[in-house]
Amino acid sequence: MSLRADLAAIAAHVSSGTRVLDIGCGDGALLAELERASGVDARGMELDAGLVEKCVARGLSVVQGDANTDLAEYPDKAFDYTILSQTLQTATRPDKMLDELLRVGEKAFVSFPNFAHWRTRAALMFGGRMPVTRALPVSWYETTNIHHVTIADFRDLARAKGAHIEREWFFANETQIGASVANWRAEFAVFQLSR
């Protein structure tokens, strides 16, 4: 099974035999890969009942829940890794969610679409309208992305929260690119954090 590039980067860096919570796990593609490839004790949380049902039907341990409120029910350091893929920008309070990720997990992976990508900038600068791009395909009035964030913004947030960035990956067109001009060129970013 081929995983989306950000998920593949995460899957490649989860050590075997660890405990993982994938928040906003969707249809469980990453969970299934982690269980299959690295013998990880992988759990998920997902808001959509239809997706949860798909996960359970394929034998995954997934709880229907809202990451904005339900992470509070997990004990401190219950997991070796928490994973939040492409969900941070939909959180009611991304700053508090980052705190929760690092409370519940020893380490956290966070991936998000970079709002400072040149296409987004161009759409605003030359079009004067909210961007609808490959990475952000939904119109402003339908999108669940209520807190758009750039790579530079996220670094600031991590610093303010005392979170240490251990690793980072940047992707354009499903291909990994360098960090130097990532805030211009990356469509997606993935960070591995600890505190």
Binding site: R43, A49, V56
Partner: protein, 365 residues
């Protein structure tokens, strides 16, 4: 019991200790099985039954002649596939379909009636575990239950954690709420207010407390349905008449339906069993049994858990399932949870539901 095939009956070789401090000597557990037990005994699934249910999960009821209560779920090629699994369903202690209960003879030869000790959900499970011992099944592939059978399922997982690999709890709760107890008390008082109840000593008499038991069933039946379901099924429609009678006949279809449910129930159920089993459910509080903290109940459990609730179930609402999920998370147990949408309220778990089928089939695979 009529001329239908009787269940298998296992007589416990030892006294059954009860939570109240007494013991049941020579207790019997009636049970049905479906599908072949594998030679290594690894494919056994225990399906528990609800308050007024019985062991006839997938076979014709010997008294009513109706199909098994979960025939759409248990059978060849169905989600609980009897071509793959050996399914066991046992009548609980305290019931009246072959297992020892208040209608059974006490050691002195006459029925226990109200001399039957007050039992708990854990006592029921203790009886079932004794049956599993007798059948030589050390570890179940899965234990599955909805409603009161969900309570037994949770009790088994908490008190005999080594006995089940997978634990599936549908539309259930880890404790009876004040509202749950209140509805049960209405039912018990209806039975006890029936002169034919005679302090429970009616087995040799001409009449049984059928009127009281029917009212108890009617009250309980309302809690199994949703307002939406009742409105859709009956609305304010009148029964076999074009205008109101200005009397107290069953003018409305919903009245007629409830009366039918109530009287039909008395044909197959013992009033004293209803008292004892509702009491056991009211006493159920899994956290209380484990130092007041529900997470303690599941400490160190290696089983996989799955909880399912229905959005229109107001008897055991989603919040009760979530409460259990939180405890399992705190205990570090592997748990899945999903709230399914269904119009029929608590009874949804017994009705056709494709998503439920997929969850059950996928979880036990």
């Amino acid at each position: 019991m009529n001329a239908a095939p009787a269940s298998k009956v296992y007589t416990l070789p030892e006294d059954l200790p009860l939570d109240c401090g007494q013991v049941l000597a020579g207790a019997q557990v009636a049970y049905e099985t479906y599908g072949e037990l594998a030679s290594d005994r690894s494919n056994a699934i225990l399906v528990c039954h609800a308050l007024t249910g019985d062991q006839y999960v997938a076979s014709k009821h010997p008294i009513t002649g109706k199909p098994g209560w979960w025939e759409r779920m248990v059978g060849p090629g169905l989600p609980i596939d009897t071509d793959r699994y050996h399914v066991i369903c046992a009548n609980v202690i305290g019931s009246c379909m072959g297992s020892t209960g208040p209608a059974s003879p006490a050691p002195d030869g006459s029925p226990y009636a109200m001399r039957f000790p007050v039992i708990t959900i854990r006592d029921m499970v203790r009886g079932i575990v004794a049956l599993l011992d007798g059948l030589g099944i050390a570890r179940l592939h899965a234990v599955i239950g909805g409603s009161m059978c969900g309570m037994q399922t949770l009790s088994l997982a908490a008190n005999w954690p080594e006995r089940a690999e997978r634990v599936l709890v549908i539309a259930s709760t880890a404790r009876h709420s004040a509202q749950n107890i209140a509805f049960h008390e209405v039912g018990r008082q209806a039975i006890m207010a029936d002169p034919a109840w005679a302090d429970g000593d009616y087995y040799a008499a001409d009449a049984s407390p059928d009127n009281g038991l029917a009212v108890a069933r009617m009250a309980a039946h309302i809690t199994y349905l949703s307002e939406e379901g009742l409105t859709e099924k009956f609305g304010r429609r009148l029964q076999d008449r074009s205008s109101k009678s200005f009397g107290f006949d069953a003018d409305f279809q919903v009245e007629s339906y409830l009366r039918y449910q109530g009287s039909g129930f008395t044909q197959r159920f013992d009033a004293n069993s209803y008292l004892y089993i509702t009491r056991a459910m009211d006493y159920f509080d899994l956290a209380e049994e484990h130092g007041g903290k529900l997470a303690n109940a599941f400490d160190g459990s290696s089983a996989r858990f799955c909880l399912v609730s229905f959005d229109t179930d107001w008897l055991y609402p989603t919040a009760e399932s979530r409460h259990i999920v939180h405890a399992l998370n705190a205990a570090g147990a592997k748990v899945s949870f999903v709230e399914l949408s269904a119009p029929a309220g608590h009874d949804s778990f017994l009705l056709p539901h494709k998503q439920l089928d997929r969850v059950v089939e996928g979880f036990i695979k």
